[in-house]
């Protein structure tokens, strides 16, 4: 389990979450997100392809990041949700909040287009 953060081209902040996104990792994700949010117009992609679980705390952290990015004129998008995560997102209605891509390439492309 880990959260890995990198800066891609065009200053796209890429955060990959592995394992369970619950109380064990939300604090770390929050730190990484806040770091990414120091950009003036943050373009953040959270890759959940390696995440197998998310709880309400994890959702909250993502929503907070999404909201702050939006407030700063940027964007936070998601990609790679497995079926289980998809169900959770859809149950809570967050599939209507977040832009969700199935793969990271498309997601990065979208962000790149936006960043340019």
């Amino acid at each position: 389990m880990a959260i890995v953060s990198t800066t891609l081209e065009n200053n796209i902040q890429f955060i990959a979450v592995n394992g369970r996104l619950d109380h064990t990792q939300t604090a770390t994700l929050e730190v990484e997100l806040n770091d990414a949010l120091t950009q003036t117009t943050p373009h953040i992609l959270v890759d959940l392809s390696q995440a197998d679980y998310i709880n309400s705390g994890g959702l909250r952290t993502l929503v907070t990041g999404w909201r702050k990015a939006k407030q700063q004129g940027g964007i936070l998008i998601l990609c790679g949700l497995n079926d289980r995560l998809h169900d959770i997102f859809s149950m809570v209605g967050f599939d209507k909040v977040f832009t969700i891509y199935s793969d990271s390439e498309t997601a990065v492309q979208t962000l790149t287009d936006q960043a340019e």
């Binding site: 709880n55 309400s56 959702l59 909250r60 929503v63 149950m91 809570v92 209605g93």
Partner: protein, 795 residues
């Protein structure tokens, strides 16, 4: 002066018989006269023998040193021969020491001749071990067995030379001389021979005695050394006493000791003794580092004594003029660690014998002194330690007498100059919130200096950059010498600054800054400062812990109040909903929960039933839960349509809530007349509607969590709730209840458990589910709040 001229006659047989023969002849010629004469001769002979015997006894029995013995021999010889010009001398190698010497009745100073070039008549007598009588030097010059060494202006004409024998060795000579020729006869030779025989063995005895005496003297001297050096407990008196004693025993005019300072690796001058005039401290370098005086370096490194002709200028006033060479002797511990160097002046051409004795004494003195210095060092170290402990105890007492951190640090900073004697002291305290050092209490730093440091907003990194030298003279002391930037120089106004990190429990909580005029700090002061820093650090951390503990206990108290308040928001007991039996369970993962459920009697027929889960746990979630409950109650009583209610609640939450929290919420209105449940779902886990035949439905409907987006579309659905139907509302704490393998309880298991228990009462169904959850999680602690509501339609 001892010239021998004239012919020599060697006489080696006793003369007594001849004398007796002459006396007998005279007796024959002059009977009466002869008788008389014979009697006179006999009497004279008896007197002579008596004189010789007493001389012999005096000589043999004397237990004096060789000089006194020589004089005694001369005096005794004077009783049997004319010895107005007389010498007694002893050989030592090629040297001939004249120990007693009289010329024309006038005693001369003892003197020494080297016989290696020309032994002269003395040398011949020594070689042959035979007596020599010269009756008249000028007459016998050609016949002498050796060439006389020296001719004086008033040379003697006649002489007697007798060997002093000890076994096979000629140990010395006695000789009598006279200005008249033929002054000595065979009788004189014979008489002096007897004296010489006795003198020989007497000298051997005397020399043995002298050696014994010297040995005894040496032993006494060593005892004295041991006594003197062992008695002194303090460094200065020890050096003074040792110097004085060394000068006295070794026989020099000057003695001093440079003492090695282990800590600072330098020699220090403590004191000394000078015959010339008192050593004046001001004229002596107090400290002498390696590289200052090459002779001292050589002894330090080589640990061997050394004689140097090059006398340092500062020593000259205390030495005779011209300055004699100096002897430097190493002073070592028993394990050969250097403790110091003993320095004495050395007579230009010391006697071999005396030198040997000097060396022996110096070795003894150095040995005792080394031990004494070692002991003093040890004792000093113990005293220092005791001193440090006492000082730190004072600090500890001061620290313990206060509970307020500011007071503690203030006390500490006021103790620093008292205990260590520094010019400036200040404590920088790490401010975790601001991420920089702030100025704590100070000593000797003016307001401007404090202001200056405060305006700098020192970060840890900046302070690290200042540390020029991480110094650890010992393992226990940890401090930095600090680069004096302009600001620091201005603030402290001193040339040297030391920083002692205040480390406690692995964190740097502050820095003790010391400003001083001195370049060198003793280990004692460093130890104390280190200890003070440690105590200050502990005080800071304790203060933090105290505050944290106080805060925790306050929070716990507040939480327990909050929990009580929150519990009061959750329905107690079972509401009397017409036609329904209700059972509920609510458990917070922490003290307060983000879950809640509620039953609202909207009208006589309509009951609102809600279950909700605020994202995240703890106090923020609990507060948000209270807000949601209040808003829902306010909104729901005016509306009969769940979707409308939730839409309004979402609007209110989005307007009011400034937090990032959101809530998932299922809300249904039960009408006991229409038997219908009207429901809307704000992103919550869909409840289970279980039918008596074992089939079930999940009450899904479009919607989303409330409090995220201001405008949401929420679907509303309707479903029959017949007799025997069971409605199970829950939060994800139920389905996601985990065991130690991270296996979740999961929805199918919940449905299965409920299905199996469907014929039982609501409470029993709930208990069955609870039991199954407990069985599943075992002792694994749960991280989510759990809410479970079971409603069974009964009639």
């Amino acid at each position: 002066m001892f010239a021998q001229l004239g012919p020599s006659v060697t006489i080696s047989w006793p003369f007594i018989s001849l004398l007796i023969l002459i006396a007998s002849l005279a007796l024959a010629a002059y009977v009466l006269w002869g008788r008389y004469q014979s009697r006179q001769a006999l009497l004279r002979r008896v007197a002579e023998l008596e004189a010789l015997r007493s001389a012999g006894r005096a000589i043999v029995e004397s237990q004096q040193d060789v000089e006194a013995l020589s004089e005694l021999i001369a005096n005794e010889a004077g009783l049997v021969i004319d010895n107005s010009t007389f010498q007694v001398g002893l050989f030592e190698g090629s040297l001939y020491h004249i120990l007693f010497w009289r010329v024309d009745g006038v005693k001369q100073e003892p003197t020494t001749f080297d016989l290696s070039e020309n032994g002269g008549l003395v040398g011949w007598v020594r070689e042959t071990k035979r007596p020599l009588m010269v009756k008249d030097f000028p007459m016998e010059l050609e016949n002498l067995p050796a060439k006389p060494r020296y001719t004086s202006e008033t040379p003697p004409r006649s002489a007697l030379f007798l060997p002093l024998l000890s076994g096979d060795e000629t140990i010395g000579i006695i000789a009598a001389q006279h200005y008249e020729p033929n002054h000595f006869d065979e009788d004189d030779l014979k008489r002096l021979s007897i004296i010489a025989n006795q003198a020989g063995s007497a000298f051997v005895n005397a020399q043995l005695f002298k050696e014994l005496q010297e040995q005894a003297w040496l032993t006494t001297a060593q005892l004295q050394i041991a006594n003197t050096i062992g008695r002194e407990q303090e460094l200065e008196p020890l050096i003074e006493a040792t110097s004085r004693l060394t000068a006295m025993l070794v026989g020099t005019t000057f003695c001093t000791v440079m003492v090695w300072d282990f800590e600072f690796e330098t020699y220090r001058w403590i004191g000394g003794y000078a015959e010339q005039h008192d050593l004046v401290e001001a004229n002596v370098p107090k400290q002498m580092e390696i590289g200052t005086w090459s002779a001292l370096d050589a002894v330090h490194v080589g640990q061997e004594r050394l004689v140097t002709e090059r006398v340092p200028g500062w020593l000259r006033p205390y030495l005779p003029h011209p300055a004699p060479p100096l002897l430097l002797h190493p002073v070592l511990t028993q394990t050969d660690a250097p403790m110091g160097v003993l320095i004495i002046d050395q007579p230009a051409e010391p006697d071999v014998h005396i030198q040997q004795r000097q060396f022996e004494l110096l070795a003894s003195i150095s040995q005792y002194l080394g031990q004494a210095l070692d002991n003093i060092n040890l004792r000093t170290a113990q005293q220092e330690e005791a001193w440090v402990n006492t000082a730190l105890l004072q600090v500890a007492e001061a620290v313990n007498s206060h509970t307020d951190l500011a007071q503690i640090l203030d006390t500490i900073i006021r103790l620093v100059p008292m205990l260590v004697g520094v010019d400036k002291a200040l404590i920088l305290i790490w401010d975790e919130e601001r991420g920089l050092f702030g100025v704590g209490p100070t000593f000797g730093v003016d307001e401007m200096g404090v202001g200056l440091i405060n305006t700098l907003d020192l970060s840890r990194k900046e302070l690290n950059q200042l540390a020029v030298q991480r110094t650890s003279s010992s393992q226990t002391v940890n401090y930095f010498k600090i680069k004096l930037e302009d600001w620091l120089q201005k603030s402290l106004g001193v040339p040297v600054a030391l920083a002692f990190p205040l480390n406690a429990r692995g964190q740097l909580v502050g820095i003790l800054l010391i400003g001083t005029e001195e370049e060198i700090f003793s280990s004692r002061r460093l130890n104390i400062l280190n200890g003070i820093a440690h105590q200050a650090a502990t005080a800071v951390v304790n203060n933090q812990l105290y505050h944290a503990a106080a805060e925790r206990s306050r929070l716990e108290q507040e939480l327990s109040v909050a929990r009580d308040i929150q519990a009061s928001l959750i329905p107690r007991g079972c509401p009397q909903i017409p036609g329904c039996a209700v059972a509920s369970y609510w458990e917070a993962a922490r003290q307060v929960s983000g879950d809640f459920y509620d039953f609202l009697q909207l009208t006589n027929d309509n009951w609102g039933i809600v279950v909700a889960d605020v994202a995240d746990k703890g106090v923020p979630a609990a507060l948000f839960m209270a807000l949601v409950r209040t808003v829902l109650r306010a909104v729901a009583f005016n509306r009969q349509n769940p979707a409308e209610t939730l839409t309004r609640v979402n609007q209110v939450l989005n307007q009011d809530a400034q937090t990032d929290l959101f809530v998932t919420l299922f809300y249904t209105v039960w009408n006991c007349h229409t038997n219908q449940l009207t429901f809307a779902n704000g992103g919550h886990n869909p409840p289970i509607l279980l039918h008596p035949n074992g089939t079930y439905q999940l009450l899904t409907s479009e919607g989303m969590a409330l409090g995220v987006l201001p405008d949401v579309t929420i679907e509303e659905k309707r479903i029959e709730f017949r007799i025997g139907d069971i409605l199970i509302l829950y939060t994800d704490g139920v389905t996601e209840a985990m065991n130690s393998n991270y296996d979740e309880f999961d929805l199918p298991r919940l449905i299965h458990t409920a299905t199996m228990a469907r014929r039982k009462s609501a409470t029993e169904i709930m208990n069955a589910i609870k039991a199954e959850i407990s069985a599943h999680v075992g002792k694994t602690p749960q991280f989510d709040d759990i809410t479970l509501v079971v409603i069974k339609r009964e009639k």
